[in-house]
Every structure is written in C-alpha cells, then in structure tokens.
Amino acid sequence: MIRIFLTAVAVVVAIGAPFVVTDLYFQQVMVIFGIYAIFAVALDILFGFLGVHSFGHAAFFGGGAYVCGILMETYGVSFGLSLVAATVLSALLGLLVAIPALRMRGIYFAITTLFCAEVVRLIVTNVPSVTRGTMGLTTPLPSFPGVPYGYENLGFYYLTFAVLALSCFLLERFRRSPLGRSFIAIRENEQLAASVGVPVFRIKFYAFGVSGGLAGLAGAIYAPFIGIISPDLLSPTYSAMGMLMVVVGGFGTIYGAIFGAFMFSVVTEIFRAAAELRMIIFSALLIAAIIFMPRGVLTPLIDYLRRPSRREPAVLDVNRKDEA
C-alpha cells in the first residue's frame, strides 16, 4: 500500500515538476538527472540483479550517443528513429562485448569489459571522417511533437522521465517474475543456480544486451540534449560514473540507482564552477562509500525503516568473502 502511495507521489511530482521549476537551468539539471538515472538503472541490471560487474559501460552510453548523433547530424534521420537505432545498436554492441567478457570471471571480466570500451573509444577517436574524432560531433536540437519551439527542455524532460518510469516499471515487474528470480539466484550462487537448471550463460548474455541497450538509449537522449559529444563520453570516467551512482545508491534496488543518480547530479551542480573538482570529490566519496557503507547510502536506511522485512530478498552484501 505504501509502495503504491509512494509511486503515485513520485509520478505526480515528476509530471508537475517542470511547472513548478520554470527556471531553464534547473530544468536542464533535472533532465541530466533523469538521463543519469536511466544509465544507472541499466548498470544496476548487471551489478545488482546479476552480480556481474561491468567496468566498460561507457562504451554503450557513449556508443548510443554517437549512433544518435551521427544519424541525426550526418544523415538527417529523425530523433525518434535515431533513438530506436541507437538502442538496438547499443544492445547489439552489448551482446558483442558479452561474448568474450562472459567467458571470464571476477577481475578478468572487469579487465575485459574495460578494454572493450577502450577499443570502442579508440575506433571512435580514429575514424574522424564519421565521428569527427577528438574535435567532437555537434548534434542538432530535435523538435518534439506538441512542444513549441524554445521549450525543448520540456520535451527532453518528459521523454527522459517516461523512459525512466517505463524501465523501472518493467524491471520491477520483471524482478518478481520467475525469470527475474533466476537472476537473483545467479547473483547469490551461480553454481547452485546452474545445477537447478537456470541457463546461466544465456541469461547473462541477454541481460548484457538489455543493459547495453538501455545505457545506449540514455546516451542517445544525452547527445542532442548536450548538443556536442566527444570521445570522452567513452572514457573510463563515464563507466566509473555509472558504477559510482549504483554503489553510492546501493546495489540491486532500482530506487538505489536513481537515488545515486540524484546525488551525482546534485553534487555535480553544487561544484559546477569547477568541473574537475567535482570528480575529485565524487571519487573520494566513492572510496569512502566502499570502505564505510558497502551497501550504499539508501539501502541500510530503508532496511532500518521496515525492520521486520518479510517480502524482499536480502540485498547483495559486497562484504561477503565467498564468490569472487
């Protein structure tokens, strides 16, 4: 009951926010928050649901941004079609990365995903005829149906939060489905899951595709919103940014990822004057979070609030010693 009430409040707040916050700058901050939240939720599918730790998700975020940017700028494709294409291609890229990466475990998996992202960055940097290389690619501002010229922020806002809400809704439904429960089973004990007939490799493979596609969709919205994209989007900084949001918010709970994205956008805006300073502060926060709050900021709080917890399976405890 509380859940439905909170969801209803969140939806009303999300729909009403742009009418209350009319300042263009703060509207932009909200859109960035929404985009980061989609990216964090995409990463949480792997980190939190499956216990698979990708260190190269910038490849999908940046990849989606580039697909969308190139299609819109160079080929004049419509925004909607570019979004679909970026999502599909990022998902395919995810499957492609999954083929070598899923054969590895633990640190080898982390290194492989990190390197795959570096390969993508190298390709984007070295094909200036298509991507403009390090110069960066400018992307045109799309027009949204029913949104008057000059109010694109609103278009981006509702698009972003519609995508976020839909993916959260689907993931929440999914988590309670038999297939979703097999994700958790893999996370908790892979051998055991495999021995009771859960197709571990196939699930991880497709999850990688879904997560890559969703991260790519976030990037595809990001590109025309920011207006210029560079190969920096594919650098480990962006992979780390995603992990940061998920770790600070707490693994395996969708609201944790969204909360992490909120923290990240807020901290980013507080230290807006010095773009580099905010990464220093954020990386220091991440280290502190890993040492002092391995379960994130929000998860222990919520556990405390509903102590006699009956319904939810326990969240991932990253301090466990077994299972690398």
Partner: protein, 290 residues
C-alpha cells in the same frame, strides 16, 4: 636501408618496452602477492613524472635529485593510500578493492588536472644528446631508460630471490594462509609489496616522462598497457610481465612504424583480448582465470 628502419623501430620499441616492464612488473607483484588489482597503478607513474617536472622547474633541482625526490614522494604517497584505502578492504570481496583503486585512479587523475591543467609539460634532462650507431639514432635519455631499467629489473630479481623479505614475499604469493601459519607478517609484506610496486612505477615515470610531453592522461594509458602486459605474461608472474612488457613495446613500435601510429594502442588491446580468449592464463602463467 629497410633493415636500418626495422632496427630503429625495434630500438624505440625496446625503450618503451622497458618502461612497460617496470610498470607491469610492479603491478604483477601487487597482484601476485596481495591478490588485488590496482587500477590506479599508472597514475603513480604519471604523478612521479609531475613531481619530477615541478622538482626541476620550481625547486630548480638537477635531474637525478628531482628523480630521487619524485620516487620517494610517490612511494610515501602510495604507502598512505595503501594504509588508508586498501588495507581496510583486503579481507573483503575483491570487488571492493577493484572499485576503490578505480576511484583512486580518477581521484589522482583529476587532482593533477586541477593542479597542473591537462596540457603537456616538457621535461628537459641533461641527456639530450644523440648517439649515432651506423644509421640508427638513439637519444641519450633512451639509452638511460634502457640501462637504468635493466639495472632496476635486475635488482628486483636479486631482491626477490636472495633477501629474506623477498623470500617472504614469494612465500606469501605462493600461499597466503600457509605464510601466515609460518609466522610471516602478511600485513607487513602487503605494505612492503605495495610500496615496491609503486616504486617501480615511479622509476619508470621519472625515466619515461622526459621522452614525450607529459599529460595527465598518460597514467590511465599506462594502467591499461600494464594490464595488457600482465595478462599476456600471466597474472602475478613478474618474469612474465617483464618479457611481455618488452614484447608489447616492440609490437607497438612496429605497428606504429609500418601500419599507423593511431592504431598502435588498438593492436595491444586486440592481442590482449585474443590471448584472454585462447590462453586465459597468459602466455607464461599458471594462474587460473576461470
């Protein structure tokens, strides 16, 4: 003539390769003994270069004095980092140290960008002369890299095989639990290992940094190269890291010379992914990847 070009490329590759061997040797020691993956390793290389630059330009120190200062400062910093962030996470899930060192690398990179800007810094050493051997040209700094690099790698080998601490380190790498039972203070060994690994990266930093304009992103680049090297050499194998490091330097130089310098990094990554897929234990390793 074509042979001379080949020789020149191989010599350039050897210089870079010695640098990779030093950085990756330290990374391999840290992985082999502490079983942690140090994503911030290359940043220590980069910071050593910057301390060298400021030591020479601001303090006006001569090259060797500034280099010694840089190595000492970076090792002291590394010790602090190890005590504050890595030691508390040692007995927890390996993911924690992985994430923590990843965050550390960002922290160090962005700190240097704030302090020094992302533009290039040029370091002038007294070794700016050129030695000509037939048609092959070698700068004195490159010669210094090779000579000093080989000396330090030799010292490392002697240290590991002939000193009590070196033997304790190898014992810890072999079996951490058994080493504890035999009275080896593994915590002390961990601190020492981390310092030693960082020191090797710093040595490489002060040697290699004067060769090209120094930029903050060189740290991440070296971390990735060092990873490619230790995966090729077999995770945790120091001799493997040295051989693979020199080999990677050569392959990169040949790629840059005969194909395209823009794609030389790609070759390293491609080789790495292929090795991971076909021989996940590395070319010389005995570890278990799966």
């Amino acid at each position: 003539m074509a042979f001379n070009i080949l020789l020149q490329q191989l010599l350039n590759g050897l210089t870079i390769g010695v640098g990779y061997a030093l950085v990756a040797g330290g990374l391999a020691a840290i992985f082999g003994i502490m079983r942690i993956v140090n994503f911030a390793h290359g940043e220590f290389f980069m910071i050593a270069g910057y301390v060298l630059y400021y030591g020479m330009s601001v303090l006006g120190l001569p090259y060797f004095a500034a280099a010694a200062l840089a190595i000492v400062a970076v090792v002291a910093f590394g010790y602090l980092i190890q005590r504050l962030t890595i030691e508390p996470l040692m007995e927890t899930d390996p993911l924690n140290t992985l994430l923590a060192t990843f965050a550390l690398s960002l922290f160090m990179f962005h700190s240097v960008v704030v302090i020094s800007g992302s533009g290039g810094r040029t370091i002038d050493t007294p070794f700016d002369g050129v030695i000509t051997l037939g048609n092959v040209i070698l700068t004195e700094q490159k010669l210094l890299v090779m000579v000093a690099g080989v000396i330090f790698l030799g010292l490392l080998a002697v240290f590991l095989s002939h000193t009590p601490v070196g033997k304790q380190m190898r014992a810890t790498a072999e079996n951490r639990y058994a080493a504890t039972v035999l009275g080896i203070d593994v915590k002390r060994i961990d601190r020492f290992t981390f310092g030693l690994g960082i020191a090797l990266a710093a040595v490489a930093g002060v040697l290699i940094a004067p060769l090209t304009p120094l930029v903050p992103s060189v740290g991440t680049a070296y971390t990735l190269k060092a990873f490619a090297v230790i995966v090729l050499g077999g995770m945790g194998s120091i001799p493997g890291a040295i051989i693979a490091g020199v080999g990677l330097g050569m392959v990169e130089a040949l790629t840059a010379g005969y194909l395209s310098s823009a794609w030389k990094d790609g070759v390293a990554f491609l080789v790495l992914i292929t090795v991971l897929l076909t021989r996940p234990n590395g070319l010389f390793g005995q570890g278990v990847a799966h």
